[in-house]
């Protein structure tokens, strides 16, 4: 397999959506377009998100990604872990497809003996180190998130450190929702480095509504702009042959 590119949306939120389309449906749509949707639900010490947890898990499940509920203090490490795990999961998915084509039936990695699994996993690790990564980060900035935003900011800078330590290249973009006039506003267009978002974050006014579905849709469109530049796509999988 050639060096490819891997696409993810990372949604950071603390509650239920209350406006617009069903976020899980949009996540399923993203998955169809080769974009994995990961969701991190953030709670603070004095707060629970009973209803929100189910939604967080549903969105990630529909979006072929990973979900995690964490306390705000643990956000930095979680963001890094979730993004990395989702990357491995997508690559494994592709490898499993290939294995099925070669070995037939419903053979997947787990059906191989541990001895044979080793070399396959080596390839997965190699790919997750070298694959080019595109992450569209979507941050919930509704009223209840206001106090958590400095920590979110720190976690995103930390994510940038982690991913720029990889051998593959990275592109990030940043959206916040709800937007001023639209469901979501772009704070940062595609860039290899997240370091210029402090001013963007300070401008945010937190608003009451949480249009998670429409916001996801907006984030998904951000890949379109890049997609047009790509000529080849790798089947239905999330990895495409890089043309640049």
């Amino acid at each position: 397999m050639k060096k490819g590119r891997l696409k993810q949306i990372l949604l950071i939120t603390d509650g239920c959506s209350n406006q617009g389309e069903d976020p899980s449906a949009i996540a399923a749509l993203a998955r169809e377009q080769g974009v994995a949707v990961n969701v991190i639900g953030v709670v603070s010490e004095d707060q629970t998100m009973d209803g929100g947890i189910q939604e967080v898990e549903d969105i990630a499940l529909a979006g072929g990604g990973i979900s995690q509920i964490v306390h705000i203090q643990q956000l930095s490490q979680t963001v890094q872990m979730v993004t990395r795990q989702a990357m491995t999961q997508t690559i494994q998915g592709v490898i499993n497809q290939e294995l099925q084509q070669i070995l037939g039936d419903s053979q997947s990695m787990d059906d191989l003996s541990p001895e044979k699994r080793g070399p396959v996993m080596d390839v997965v690790d190699e790919l997750s180190e070298t694959v080019n990564l595109e992450v569209c980060i979507l941050v919930d900035t509704s009223a209840s998130m206001e106090k958590k935003l400095p920590t979110v900011h720190e976690a995103l800078l930390d994510l940038s450190i982690s991913f720029n330590s990889r051998m593959g290249s990275n592109q990030f973009c940043l959206y916040a929702f709800p937007g001023k006039h639209k469901p979501t506003d772009q704070l940062l267009s595609w860039t290899p480095q997240i370091d210029s978002i402090s001013h963007a974050f300070s401008k945010l006014a937190s608003r009451g509504i949480t249009p998670t579905g429409p916001a996801l849709k907006g984030a998904l469109k951000s890949f379109d702009k890049r997609l047009r530049r790509d000529l080849a796509t790798y089947g239905e999988a999330a990895i495409e042959d890089a043309t640049d």
Binding site: V43, I53, E57, S67, Q68, I69, V70, H71, Q73, Q74, S76, Q77, T78, M81, R84, Q85, T88, Q92, M109, D110, S113, P114, E115, R117, G118, M121, D122, V124, D125, E129, D158, I161, S162, F163, N164, S165, R166, M167
Partner: protein
């Protein structure tokens, strides 16, 4: 991460449970859990090699990744650096298939506990030992990655520091997969998370800092780097080694051997001080024991007195 609220619960076994591998049919009897980590759970068990450590990961891919590392690692080992790998297999339950591996059980005292018992004067010596092993690992093209006290034990006779969990070991030039914030240079703003010898040497410096008080200082909001360095320079136990520690934090050593050499020189410069501290400590311990003994004697005599009074007043 202790406080995660996710659905992925760590696997649990009752002591005495028997685990049989799907592929190799080897039997293991669980004795007790040894530790719950960010990437899996380790149990002490009886196997055909006697006592072994069994590691179950949260995701099977992670387990295989670690096994790959251990396999390559064993080719590096002259004297064993980390635990030896015995077996890799799957444990099939009704709900799920868990990949696991069996490795050598290294019996020893956790590093920080050992320092608490033996005194801080042992710390530079353990660091020298650690640096020697790291040097060999780096030369073979690997970086330890998630280096922290929890991954280090001290085995006895002679006292020797050993590595417990080498799952985070990464090829030089790749990115660090697994880290613990306090010991991570990216977290403190001292550099990126690329696997290179200086990444491990930063962690060694932070282990030194951690061992001085047995606790981890807070990062805080403003200028954490300057705060950390001030803390090291003003700390009574760390001050003699402050230069080496700070140099390691800044990534000024490109090999473990360089750091080891400078540390060795520092230790040679400050022998009398170390000795004095140790004598003070022993004296303090003795006097403390004496005080405790006196206290017990006093208590006994008071009880006797009260009892005599009681007998005298009410019974007679």
């Amino acid at each position: 991460m202790a406080k995660q609220l996710s659905k992925t619960q760590p696997i649990r076994f009752m002591p005495g449970s028997i685990i049989v591998g799907k592929w190799h049919q080897k039997h293991y009897q669980i004795i007790r859990p040894l530790g719950y980590g960010a990437r899996g759970t380790v149990f002490l068990a009886y196997g055909e090699h006697g006592r072994v450590a069994l590691k179950f990961g949260f995701d099977n891919a992670g387990v295989i990744s670690e096994v790959n590392v251990l396999n390559k690692f064993s080719k590096v080992q002259g004297e064993s650096l980390g635990p030896s790998l015995y077996d890799v297999d799957d444990w099939v339950t009704k709900q799920k298939v868990y990949a696991f591996y069996a490795m050598e059980y290294i019996h020893g005292l956790p590093l920080l506990e050992c320092i608490r018992v033996r005194g801080f004067e042992w710390m530079p010596i353990f660091v020298l030992q650690l640096l020697k092993d790291l040097g060999r690992l780096h030369e073979a093209g690997w970086v330890f990655g998630d280096l922290k006290p929890d991954n280090l034990v001290v085995t006895s006779s002679p006292l020797q520091i050993r590595w417990l969990d080498v799952g985070g070991t990464t090829q030089i030039g790749r990115s660090i997969k697994e880290y613990t914030e306090f010991f991570d240079r990216g977290y403190w703003g001292f550099g990126i998370r690329k696997a290179e010898p200086s990444y491990d040497l930063f962690a060694v410096a932070m282990i030194f800092v951690n061992a001085a008080d047995g606790c981890r200082i807070e990062k805080g909001q403003d200028s954490p780097k300057a705060k950390l360095i001030r803390y090291i320079q003003s700390h009574q136990k760390l001050a003699p080694y402050a230069d080496v520690i700070v140099q390691a934090l800044h990534g000024e050593f490109s090999t473990a051997e360089q750091m080891r050499k400078v540390l060795l020189e520092k230790i040679d410069e400050t022998p009398s001080r170390v000795q004095r501290i140790s004598k003070d400590r022993v004296a303090k311990r003795k006097s403390k024991r004496k005080v405790e003994w006196k206290g017990a004697l006093l208590l006994v005599s008071v009880v006797l007195l009260v009892y005599t009074l009681y007998v005298a007043l009410f019974i007679m």
